[in-house]
């Protein structure tokens, strides 16, 4: 059953086209992330689904009800779409429990069980009597999620809910919230500009730029098979190198040596390949390396603890490699190494 259907939706603010031809489908229980840089229209999309903005073209349906068409607009309070805004937006005059009970018709007393259940889901059991200003930022965000979940909405919208929090807090909160949402069976749409947030939380990711959806897929698909170099670069670090020569067996020659092409890559015309730094393998001169490995020189090392990003020069061309921190002696700038590329690479035709 398709729970959320967004078909050909378009919206303009004056001359600026904020949304163009947006198509997205979600099934009940799905967790989808809309990922894009700021100003790409993702928040506008969220507001159109919630009912705070009207659309110019297309159609949005929730369940089997069409909620908006151009000129037809179901008001936000009748859509049963719950939102978790960036700043939480808890009602400052109500206790935590009253905030959670806000969307439950008949007030908190009647729904005591559901309120406690939701607070427990987000890890705040027993804190119902507190006032919002007595909570930390992370706790406020948890309450906002509990408040959204309480009335069993068919769709929960998360609007960059972690961007105002400290990085250390974010990872833990992400896991807990994801857990709460899935164990409650909620259908969730997350809007974010943080690629690691989108890839780690969502079952499927829609990458958006300039008001258009560029690609929809699972996190792995998006990361490994980006439809174009822009998407490839946006979801992670990447080198985009021209193909120097096509070889047999779906192999090609590039500046960093011969690579494997992923199946389904275009066959004609000039091509570019996208290589992730973690695909680049490094061996010292005295260690084993495949015979077709290229010689390279270490230019600089950016050490991150659990891994390091190595900038290399290969025949005068820059290249990057990500290596896990291992007990062996770390690489130092100036060292001569041999490199090769592991695993298949996505290729793009440059004529388009």
């Amino acid at each position: 059953m398709t729970d959320v259907q967004i078909a050909n939706v378009g919206k303009s603010f004056g001359d600026v086209a904020a949304l163009q031809d947006i198509n997205l489908d979600m099934a009940t229980g799905d967790f989808m992330a809309v990922l894009g840089p700021s100003g790409c229209g993702k928040t506008t999309l969220l507001r159109c689904i919630a009912g705070f903005e009207r659309i110019d073209r297309g159609r949005i349906s929730l369940g089997h009800r069409v909620v908006t068409l151009p000129g037809v607009h179901m008001p936000a309070h009748r859509r049963q779409v719950a939102i978790v805004p960036q700043d939480g937006a808890l009602f400052p005059h109500l206790t935590v429990a009253a905030n959670v009970a806000f969307g439950l018709k008949g007030g908190g007393r009647k729904h005591r069980g559901r309120v406690d259940e939701c607070l427990e889901l987000v890890g705040l059991a027993g804190m119902g009597a507190r006032m919002p200003h007595e909570l930390s930022g992370g706790q406020q965000q948890r309450v906002a999620v509990a408040r959204a979940l309480a009335p069993h909405p068919p769709l929960v919208l998360l609007d960059e809910p972690f961007s105002a929090l400290d990085a250390s807090l974010r990872a833990e909160l992400r896991d807990d919230i994801k857990q709460a949402l899935t164990s409650d069976g909620a259908t969730t749409l997350l809007v974010t500009h943080d690629q690691s947030e989108a890839l780690s939380m969502a079952d499927s990711v829609a990458v958006m730029a300039d008001g258009r959806i560029r690609q929809v897929g699972t996190p792995t698909e998006i990361y490994r098979h980006p439809v174009d170099p822009w998407v490839g670069r946006f979801v992670g670090e990447a080198m985009v190198l021209p193909v120097q020569e096509k070889l047999a067996n779906e192999r090609a020659l590039t500046a960093v040596g011969p690579i494997w092409l992923r199946s389904g890559t275009p066959v004609n015309g000039r091509q570019e390949v996208l290589i992730r730094p973690e695909q680049v393998q490094i061996a010292r001169a005295n260690q084993g390396a495949p015979p077709d490995a290229k010689s390279a020189k270490v230019e600089s090392v950016a050490y991150h603890g659990h891994d390091a990003l190595i900038t290399l020069s290969v025949d005068g061309q820059p290249a990057q490699a990500r290596v896990l921190d291992r007990p062996s002696e770390p690489l130092v700038p100036g060292e001569a190494v041999r490199i090769w590329v592991d695993g298949g690479c996505a290729a793009f035709s440059t004529t388009t």
Binding site: P75, A76, I83, P85, A89, F91, G103, K105, R147
Partner: protein
């Protein structure tokens, strides 16, 4: 609409002047007498503004950035002279001076300058102290780390950072002095406001009063223009940096000098009224019929103030909500127009409404309704600021969340918007009410015949040197005016400085109050 109603007096004044013809107007004002008035008014405003800047900026720096002894105490106390209406202050100084000398009355330019400075400098002190305690101290620390000492940092970084507040406060003080009627008329300095009143009430020279009013209005507009210009230029200094408590500057022995200076200002500004009341209140209350008179005056004050508050808030609600919810050119223009009215001298507003009443709306003349309109014109900005501040307590994101949880617009208003904004609007209403209670010039001109208020009674009693009769009224007025001042000083958060710094700054906590 609401703003337009508030601006009726202004339009009317300009219309009348236009009708009479510009040349006629010019002939009336281009006289030696008017030049003299203008010189006195402008000079007084300048002298007082400069003195206010010195006291206001100095004490704001002392209480927010240095280790002056008792700075928490002074932070609140330095704002208190604002609670004394200028005519009450003038009355207390005159009545205290009278204790020492029977012949020479305390009056004239210097007397007026001293009194006005002592009770006007909080207009500089409050915004500057608020800006200083809210300013980004990171910038100061950067300056110190780049080799500037405390003094150099103050001049190169701190003061430029709060320059908009300083400029704004200074211009406010200037406007206040230009608009002041009570103090200058009690201290007998011939300024525009006093001349307008004399021309109107003693000479029945309506056209003369009108011409002078228009000139005063023009001067006010020029200063207002300068104010908004500095505010626009100052916009780039606004920083919302994290507040971090930094060690206050150590003044060494200088801190005792700072302590002495602030004590002296407070002693003069608060000690003199206290002395006057100690001397006269007892005698005033014990006079025959005095309590009945006071009760009658208080009743009159309550009646006209209640009417004024109701009208002002009715006009302020739409403007305030518009300003808070839809920040844009239109709402800024509306807000600007409301502030324009606030800077108008009360005597000008009163006079133009007298003309309006006599020529256009005769049934309204000498009714409470017309006086309420004058109050609305004068105090609309107070109410708009209160409503906008209250509306900001319920930001649109809360509305949207409530809607997404299934509440219709009217239910959202009832369950979210109203509970959050009501306290703020109530406080605004109280503020407007108390401000109406102490308004003098417009009340003098517009009150219904036979109606006395606390302010007019005090003014009349002082005029004929019946100090004992005036003292209880002055006492009541100071008590009434102290309430909003206390609120203002508390709201600006100056006294709470270091405590605020401990709150988490990363997440914006929406507070209930």
């Amino acid at each position: 609409m609401a703003t337009a109603v508030a601006l009726i007096p202004l339009f009317y004044l300009l219309l009348r002047t236009g009708q009479a013809g510009l040349t006629a107007w010019w002939e009336r004002i281009a006289t030696a007498r008017v030049a003299e008035l203008a010189t006195t008014s402008v000079l007084l405003a300048l002298v007082v503004a400069l003195a206010c800047l010195a006291i206001g900026v100095g004490s704001a720096y002392l209480v927010t950035r240095t280790n002056v002894p008792g700075r928490r105490f002074f932070a609140v106390m330095m704002a208190l002279p604002l609670a004394v209406p200028s005519y009450v202050a003038a009355f207390t100084w005159v009545s205290v001076a009278d204790l020492w000398s029977d012949s020479a009355r305390f009056e004239g330019f210097v007397a007026a300058a001293v009194v006005l400075t002592l009770y006007t400098y909080p207009y500089v002190y409050l915004p500057v102290a608020a800006a200083l305690s809210g300013a980004d101290r990171g910038q100061e620390e950067v300056a110190r780390s780049l080799g500037y000492n405390a003094w150099g940092t103050l001049w190169r970084v701190t003061l430029p950072q709060v320059r908009p507040a300083i400029a704004g406060g200074g211009l406010l003080a200037t406007l206040y002095v230009l608009a002041d009627f009570g103090a200058v008329s009690i201290l007998r300095v011939d300024t525009f406001t006093r001349a307008v009143f004399t021309a109107f009430s003693a000479g029945f020279d309506r056209i003369g009063a009108l011409s002078l009013s228009t000139l005063l209005l023009l001067i006010t507009l020029v200063i207002l223009g300068a104010e908004s210009w500095t505010r626009r230029r100052g916009a780039r200094y606004v920083s919302s940096g994290a507040r971090s408590a930094s060690a206050p500057a150590d003044l060494g022995w200088g801190r005792l000098a700072g302590l002495a200076a602030m004590s002296l200002v407070l002693l003069a500004a608060l000690g003199v009224p206290a002395l006057s009341m100690l001397r006269w209140v007892d005698e005033g209350v014990s006079q025959a019929d005095s309590l009945a008179d006071i009760a009658a005056a208080a009743g009159g004050s309550l009646a006209v103030s209640a009417a004024g508050t109701a009208l002002t808030l009715a006009l302020a609600l739409p403007v305030g909500i518009l300003v808070a919810r839809y920040p844009g050119k239109l709402s800024r223009a509306l807000e600007g127009a409301a502030y324009l009215a606030h800077s108008l001298p009360g005597i000008v507003v009163g006079l133009s409404l007298v003309f309006f009443g006599v020529t256009v709306a005769l049934p309204l003349y000498q009714t409470t309704a017309l006086l309420a309109l004058a109050y609305a014109t004068l105090f609309l900005p107070l109410a708009v600021a209160a409503v906008a501040g209250a509306a900001a307590q319920a930001p649109p994101s809360l509305d949207e969340v409530a809607q997404s949880l299934g509440y219709s617009r009217s239910a959202v208003f009832r369950k979210v918007t109203l509970p959050l904004t009501l306290p703020g609007i109530g406080a605004g209403a109280a503020l407007v009410f108390l401000t109406c209670m102490k308004e003098l010039p417009a009340t003098l001109l517009l009150r219904p015949t036979g109606l006395d208020t606390l302010a007019t009674e005090l003014w009349q009693a002082t005029g004929v040197q019946r100090y004992a009769e005036a003292a209880p009224l002055a006492f009541l007025l100071v008590i009434l005016a102290a309430l909003p001042t206390w609120l203002l000083a508390r709201r600006s958060g100056i006294s709470a400085g270091p405590k605020l710094a401990k709150q988490p700054t990363k997440i914006k906590v929406v507070e209930t109050q």
